[in-house]
């Protein structure tokens, strides 16, 4: 079973790297889905089947569909692709790359230091999660509800098309600004 963890981990890393470096948005999106799916495998292995399912359904399913819609709607064509070729220039990526690498190295250094501590495979059922959610964390659940409501309203508001002014003077004014 351990081998499954390592394979999933490698796939996740590989897919994520491809996603970040890709030039085509749809391709990248697909790599992202692969990455998420492999992480969900790991969740399953770590005894969190409910979360694994959520990962697949919400992340890899719902959220990614949103991305797809947006990419379809915008249909940036090849213009975006051309710009992204600048990625190849070292000057563009060297700074962020080094920063991220240092961060990564430091985290690895921290994580490798402490003693061995195994991850259990005891499965935690969704019922336990639910019970905890609505007892200990009830306040945060409510806050999360607020957040989602705010997200919905925000998305609705921002997604609106600008109102068309039917008066020509106003139109001219808007064009001027």
């Amino acid at each position: 079973m351990n081998i499954l963890f390592y394979i999933a981990a490698l796939i996740a890393i590989f897919a994520t790297v491809r996603m970040v470096t890709g030039t085509n948005a749809v391709h990248s999106l697909l790599y992202l889905i692969v990455s998420l799916l492999s992480v969900s495998v790991i969740f399953f292995l770590l005894g969190a089947p409910f979360i694994a399912a959520l990962e697949v359904i919400i992340y890899a399913g719902a959220i990614m569909v949103l991305f797809v819609f947006v990419i379809m709607m915008l249909n940036t064509g090849s213009g975006g692709v051309r710009k992204e070729h600048e990625l190849l220039k070292a000057s563009t990526w060297i700074g962020p790359g080094i920063t991220s690498a240092i961060l990564c190295g430091e985290m690895l250094y921290v994580l490798l230091a402490p003693a061995f501590h195994p991850m259990n495979r005891i499965e935690i059922p969704p019922a336990a999660v639910g019970a905890l959610l609505f007892s200990k964390y009830i306040l945060i659940v409510e806050l999360a509800a607020f957040l989602l409501a705010a997200g919905i309203i925000g998305a609705y508001h921002l997604g609106q098309k600008p109102k068309l002014s039917h008066h020509r003077y106003l139109k001219n004014e808007e064009a001027a600004t």
Binding site: G95, P96, T99, S100, I102, L103, E106, M107, Y109, V110
Partner: protein, 634 residues
């Protein structure tokens, strides 16, 4: 009777207030009646009170009247209260009586002026303040009057305000006298902290018991008071304002700058004589200042071409005589000369005013001439005044008053031969410039025609003053000639008599009556010599009708020994320069600097906020790295 004392002061103030409030709406005649009437009424009240004082009060017990408590703060409690004794009565007499005459003269003189009511409002205000000054029973009230007359002098010098030069002259007068006043105020502080009162009589009584003669504190106080007196009385080195003050209308010059205000310094020193006697150094300084002033001003008077400036310098010089008298302890002589001087100098100023007015505001004596036939009354009265000023012997009042001073400068225990000689030199100079003025103005070829004949209103005061200039002297005659001591006896109710030198000051010189005869003879000769020289130089000489050409030395004297230039270079210009360079206030610049440093920081930080999302994310990442690094390294 004595309860009426407050009326003397209140009447002019009431007149002034009335004219200030309603003057614009009053007809000229009404304004004139109010203006002249208030002072005249005041003079009448003074005469009634004065006669009462002379007859019903031979011991000279001072009259005291308190109107109300002015300030009352833990011991600092001057009141609005009056004190009338022989010294103040003398001054009140001159102020109200001569003042009323000058007011009477001024009514027709100023008739055509648009600021007629304003003029009388100021004049009445002046009389009120001047009376307050001499009647005050405490130093603070005295200071009120002191500053008040300064203010009125300022207002009246700048009366014709449309010419900026008049305004500047007024400002100069006020500022220069204020320098002296400030010294005086500091003197008052010392007096108050020592005696916890400002009542003049109380202090004068207490002083000899608390302060040792010649002690530092007495000297300092006397010196500070002297500062005030110098400023007001235009003595060296604060004399420069008076010649400029001639920008005022002539009645003003007569009243303020000849008869009354400029002698306030004499009053102050006489009033506080106890202090000065305790500070011999300062008292001799008074004499020296007087002596220097009388020469400096006299020399300057010789070279003036403006008739009023001659009189102005002459006034400075004559007050110098009074200071000499004060300095040698001849108190009554000083006051006597003050009174006589008030008569003849205001007469001269009014006469000069008449001449100037009928010649269309012509001040230059070289453009006058031959007026004696055309303006006989003015000429004869002016001549009387001139004779009195030059102290022509025996007939004029000026001779008796000035001779007294010159004699005391020699004979008093504080006198000296130097002072005496200076006095004589001054007498010579006086006769010279006076008759130069008379000859240039009234004799010689006529260069201008009088525009009109002046009326009774202006003539009457001249005649009255001329009369006084004649007979005023006979109330006080020297020991050797009749020995009339009406005036000195009267004054000596308050001020001590002059102490003559026990033995002759300088060995080999005569003393006693013989000496006095000789001295009088010399003085008489000297003044006649001055007259003669003036006659030689100026009588009927064909001078061009213009400002005379002067060589540098003459120019130096003409400019009043260049005191103005000196002060301008040493005091005025540095002050102006100093205020110009720091107009915008360095301290403010400092705060502005702080603000701009903050602004720089703002600019620097604002540059990091470039709106680029990735830049912000990068900053976050770097922050995370740094935080982690710090955590790890510890």
């Amino acid at each position: 009777m004595s309860e009426l004392l407050w009326l003397i002061v209140a009447l002019p103030f009431a007149g002034s207030l009335l004219l200030a409030m309603a003057g614009k709406h009053l007809p000229r005649l009404a304004a004139a009646i109010i203006g002249v009437g208030s002072v005249a009424l005041s003079a009448i009240v003074m005469l009634i009170l004065g006669l009462d004082f002379l007859h019903g009060n031979p011991a000279g017990v001072p009259i005291h009247q308190t109107l109300w408590q002015w300030i009352n703060v833990s011991g600092f409690s001057p009141g609005i209260a009056f004190h009338l004794d022989s010294v103040s009565l003398t001054f009140v007499f001159v102020i109200t009586f001569v003042g009323a005459l000058i007011h009477l003269y001024a009514a027709p003189f100023m008739w055509k002026d648009e600021g007629f009511a304003r003029f009388f409002s100021y004049m009445n205000l002046f009389v009120g303040f001047m009376l307050l000054l001499v009647l005050a029973d405490n130093f603070l009230l005295l200071y009120l009057g002191w500053e008040g007359v300064g203010l009125c002098s300022y207002l009246l010098i700048g009366f014709w305000y449309k010419d900026p030069a008049n305004g500047y002259a007024a400002r100069k007068a006020f500022t220069v006298t204020r320098v002296g006043d400030t010294a005086m105020v500091i003197g008052l502080f010392i007096l108050f902290t020592t005696y916890h009162t400002l009542n003049i009589q109380d202090i004068l009584v207490a002083t000899p018991h608390t302060w040792a003669p010649g002690s530092t504190i007495a000297t300092t106080t006397a010196f500070l008071l002297l500062g005030g007196a110098i400023g007001k009385s235009a003595q060296v080195p604060l004399q420069t304002w008076l010649p400029d003050a001639m920008a005022a209308p002539s009645p003003v010059s007569a009243l303020i700058h000849a008869a009354t205000m400029v002698t306030a310094g004499v009053y102050l020193i006489a009033r506080t004589h106890v202090l000065f006697e305790l500070a011999p150094v300062v008292q001799s300084a008074v004499a020296v200042i007087g002596a220097v002033t009388l020469i400096v001003a006299g020399m300057a008077a010789i070279y003036q071409h403006d008739i009023k400036k001659v009189l102005a310098y002459s006034t400075i010089s004559q007050i110098g005589y009074m200071f000499v008298a004060l300095g040698v302890g001849a108190w009554s002589a000083a006051l006597f000369h003050f009174m006589i001087h008030a008569f003849f100098k205001s007469l001269l100023f009014l006469g000069a005013g008449s001449v100037i007015a009928v010649l269309h505001d012509e001040h230059n004596m070289y453009k006058m001439g031959g007026l004696w036939k055309k303006m006989p009354v003015v000429f004869w009265t002016f001549l009387v005044g001139a004779c009195a000023l030059s102290a022509l012997p025996l007939i004029t009042a000026g001779f008796y008053s000035k001779d007294e001073i010159i004699w005391q400068a020699y004979a008093s225990d504080k006198g000296s031969i130097t002072l005496w000689l200076t006095g004589l030199a001054g007498a010579f100079i006086t006769a010279l410039y006076t008759f130069r003025m008379v000859f240039l103005t009234f004799f010689g070829k006529a260069k201008a025609e009088p525009a009109y004949r002046q009326g009774m209103g202006m003539t009457l005061p001249l005649v009255v003053l001329a009369f006084l200039s004649f007979v005023g002297g006979f109330i006080q005659l020297p020991d050797n000639m009749g020995h009339v001591t009406l005036f000195s006896h009267f004054i000596q109710q308050v001020l001590p008599a002059t102490t003559p030198t026990g033995t002759a000051v300088i060995a080999g010189l005569p003393s006693g009556h013989a000496a006095e005869w000789i001295a009088q003879l010399i003085a008489a000769i000297v003044s006649i010599a001055g007259l003669t020289l003036a006659y030689r130089l100026y009588y009927n000489k064909p001078f061009p009708a213009a400002e005379p050409v002067r060589n540098p030395i003459q120019q130096f004297f003409f400019k009043g020994w260049d005191f103005d230039l000196l002060y301008d270079k040493v005091i005025v210009q540095p002050i102006v320069f100093f205020s110009r360079i720091d107009k915008n206030d360095v301290i403010d610049q400092f705060y502005t600097g702080l603000a701009s440093v903050a602004g720089l920081f703002n600019k620097g930080l604002a540059a990091t906020q470039n709106g680029k999302l990735r830049w912000y994310a990068m900053a976050l990442a770097i922050g995370a790295v740094i935080t982690l690094t710090i955590l790890l390294s510890t």
